[in-house]
Amino acid sequence: MSAWSEKSPERKAYLRSRYRHYVLVLVSQMLILIGFVLLWELVADRRWIDPFITSQPTRMWATLLHLHQNGTLYTHVGVTLMETFWGFSLGMLGGFLCAVLLWWSRMFQEISEPYLVILNALPKVALGPVLIVWLGNGSAAIIGMAILISIVVTIISMVSGFMEVDPDKIKLLHSFGASRLQILLKVVLPSSLNSIIAAFKVNVGLCLVGVIMGEFLVSQAGLGYLIVYGSQVFKLDLVMTSILILAVIAAILYIIVSYVGKRLLHWQK
């Protein structure tokens, strides 16, 4: 390797062009964001659009500062995060356990198939009012909504991941006299880690959808509540600011989950 430590001109040129490409993409992405914000501010300032119904970046900033100063920002973000966390954890756990059960018993899988297909196709929001009646108009119903939205997808994608495991690998374990539990733990789960992590990533988004849906329907706090409340009293600044915060939260959650996923799959690197 030492002979190649001195980079050839071709290598240098290649690395330079790659770096240039990377910078170009990054700068373009940032320019689009900055341009959009500036344009928004400009057209609102010139009254080409009505900032009363579209809001504008400086007003959103002021709203954010206001929410920060009176502390309500943290209450609402906290409530939404807490509900998302529970929805995500319980949805993943429940989905995972169901997937294991379906993998364990072929019979059970066949029996439950039509129900899963229909549950998957059903718009879960339709069950929102039912959840409110059953669980009351509080966080429980909202978490229920998040679980409902994420669990079916989790089950379906995890089971298909489990079923894709190379049958010869399972045969190998059988040849060592492995039990079904050992096959699950030593081969099936590790080799479906990819699909489990994929389910993780999808679920973060879906849970957030469920929580916001739930907060639209019932709630006294949370970003979904802020959005609905803001729109009802025609405070579009509040609505837009809440949506912006929500976007930031979604991005952060996605980054966290991706990072955790990458750490779990370290052997692929």
Binding site: D168, L172, L173, H174, F176, W267
Partner: protein, 253 residues
């Protein structure tokens, strides 16, 4: 009664019928076969004749429809591809069998380390499978099989996924390792040359449903590892003999 049977593995009129919703397939018609301790037996036959099923039966992964399998020893199974688990290091892969069978892990690790050292993989114990060449991966798979100290090794075309040069080298290595460790081996292959170069005895099977067509003891002018045996003057004779037995028709059109 003391078991005076000289065989370590004995198949007695074994047959296998597979059921499916549309049809019934007879995979193995009637196979009787005995393998003595320390013997290396190759089983050749036309592709799809049920050779691999025979190994599955010996390993008791499937129960034969009729007939009995007598065996009083531990078996190790080596499959067509190495199937090393990508998320485990080489050492962890080799420890799979002892882990599953609940052996004393400390002793097993010592034994595995000894094997890895003896067969040139010691520098790779903490590497992951994808960092190893095909030949090294197959060697690691063999050590994984040996880690549970089997008396009988079942080899199901273990070299078929390797390129030709590697294949010759790995066959030589595996044969030498098995010889050194004093293991009984049953090799299933469709490669006539491979079968002859490794075995004390070649069993030729008929096309599906399989039965034993002929058993040919291999006696070379001088004993040695597979690569040397390929040079032996009798090698050609055996090759022609088995080729004729297999009765392969090559269309000349």
């Amino acid at each position: 009664m003391i078991d005076i049977s000289a065989y370590q593995v004995e198949l007695d009129h074994v047959s296998m019928v597979y059921q499916s919703p549309t049809t019934e397939t007879v995979a193995i018609a009637d196979v009787s076969l005995g393998v003595k301790p320390g013997e290396f037996v190759s089983i050749v036959g036309p592709s799809g004749c049920g050779k691999s099923t025979l190994l599955d039966i010996i390993c008791s992964l499937v129960t034969p429809t009729r007939g009995t399998v007598r065996m009083n020893s531990r078996v190790g199974y080596m499959l067509q591809r190495d199937h090393l688990l990508e998320w485990r290091s080489i050492l962890q892969n080799c420890m799979l069998g002892p882990e599953l069978q609940g052996h004393n892990l400390k002793e097993a690790r010592e034994y595995v380390n000894h094997l890895l050292r003896a067969y040139g993989l010691h520098d790779f114990t903490n590497h992951y499978p994808r960092q190893l060449s095909g030949g090294m991966r197959q060697r690691a798979a063999l050590i994984r099989t040996l880690a549970v100290k089997p008396d009988v090794l079942l080899l199901d075309e273990p070299f078929s996924s390797l390129d030709y040069q590697t294949r010759l080298a790995v066959a030589d290595e595996v044969w030498t390792i098995l010889q050194k460790e004093g293991k009984t081996a049953i090799l299933v292959t469709h490669d006539i040359a491979e079968a002859i170069s490794m075995a004390d005895r070649v069993v030729v099977l008929t096309a599906r449903p399989a039965s034993v067509k002929k058993t040919i003891p291999i006696v070379m002018t001088s004993e040695g590892p597979p690569l040397m045996r390929r040079q032996d003057e009798r090698f050609r004779e055996y090759f022609d003999m088995i080729w004729k037995e297999l009765d392969i028709h090559v269309s000349m059109v």
